[in-house]
Symmetry: C2
Subunit: 218 residues, 2 copies
């Protein structure tokens, strides 16, 4: 495996920024987008339960509706791809069961060997107050942000621009996309594509706290 050099990694992450204006004429090639989907789906999650769904919105009419529900931000209609990161509203014992079945299938493992692990996970999700963050919502919501991080990082590595977006009306998104009736709610949006040559933000230096101010050693 040929790993990246540290310099190459940092060059890509410094190149990334939250694109304000995408070039609507530039589309992400299908095979690149497929890899981005796979990379996002490879994000780790608590116990590996993946309490999420990633919704790719291609329909221009729906995109226009989402834009209206997102303070009219142009990325919703102009980016090549829109990915809505959704969290599962409730993770149940049957989700745990399905996950264990998947482990059995992928690893060709005897189901009996996973019984303790299954009970532990089922006990966890049955007691949301004991989950990290103290509630089912906070816990599943947090997991989707790992996937968001993987998505943006993967795109950067492939030379694809992104913009993470929290500024939208979740209730309207649910209404437009029919998410809650499928057991999911929207958390955050990832727009992906290619920056417009005249995006005002593209040429400004990236602003971050000094590393020494955010990373401390003990």
């Amino acid at each position: 495996m040929r790993s990246l050099t540290a310099a190459d990694l940092l060059e890509h992450l410094n190149w990334r920024y939250a694109v304000k204006k995408f070039d609507p004429a530039k589309k992400i090639p299908a095979d690149t987008w497929a890899a981005i989907e796979q990379a996002t789906a490879l994000a780790p999650s608590s116990y590996g339960l993946q309490p999420w769904r990633f919704l790719v919105v291609n329909d221009p009419t729906i995109r226009t509706k989402l834009r209206t529900a997102s303070w009219n931000q142009s990325q919703l209609t102009d980016a090549s791809h829109i990915l809505v990161f959704c969290r599962k509203i409730v993770v149940t014992a049957s989700d745990v069961e399905a996950y264990v079945q998947r482990i059995v299938e992928v690893r060709n493992a005897p189901a009996a060997s996973l019984e303790d692990y299954k009970k532990m996970m089922a006990g966890s999700v049955a007691n949301p107050a004991g989950l990290p963050g103290g509630s089912m919502e906070t816990w599943t919501r947090s997991q989707t942000y790992i996937a968001l991080g993987f998505f943006m990082s993967a795109c950067a590595m492939l030379g694809v621009d992104t913009c993470p977006m929290e500024g939208f009306d979740p209730a309207k998104y649910d209404e437009i996309l029919g998410l809650s009736k499928q057991g999911y709610l929207p958390v955050v949006v990832g727009a992906a594509g290619y920056r417009a040559s005249d995006d005002w933000l593209a040429t400004l230096p990236k602003v971050r706290a000094r590393v020494a101010d955010v990373v401390k050693h003990v």
Copy 2:
């Protein structure tokens, strides 16, 4: 900029797994770790406010205490590096002010040009119920998971192993590390280093839902 190929990206992400047993003899080279710190600090956040602190724990005595507060999981003492991802307890108008000053400094921008942006951010953090997720805690907590995603992804690209860990006692971590008196609370831990050659999980196939089951198109 030489971007990764999709195949290389996916190879690295498939290589990554949550290491159960690190090789305690293998240390991450200092320059590689410095790049990992930088990559983590390059994670994006709401408004760019970076409501976080990343604590690198090198002291073996403290590491042992953290292990005790983490169900005795061996990664705490055996991994080359331990990074505790902390969220700022309260983001205030003075944090917004400091951030705006940093923009002025990095971009050499006139402070007056940022007045509206500053007011908007200050208004946001003054009304936590209106933040995505509905509270200051949920909002800042979520942001740290983006950083966790960047951290794990960056490590994978550099051929460094990781393990994300939510299974610890936050109150004991606070007691051991003295975080809340500095305005922070622990959210999640990232262990980094190199897998032991006999880690039982290292050779098992990765378990994920089928991409078609988690990614939907409309």
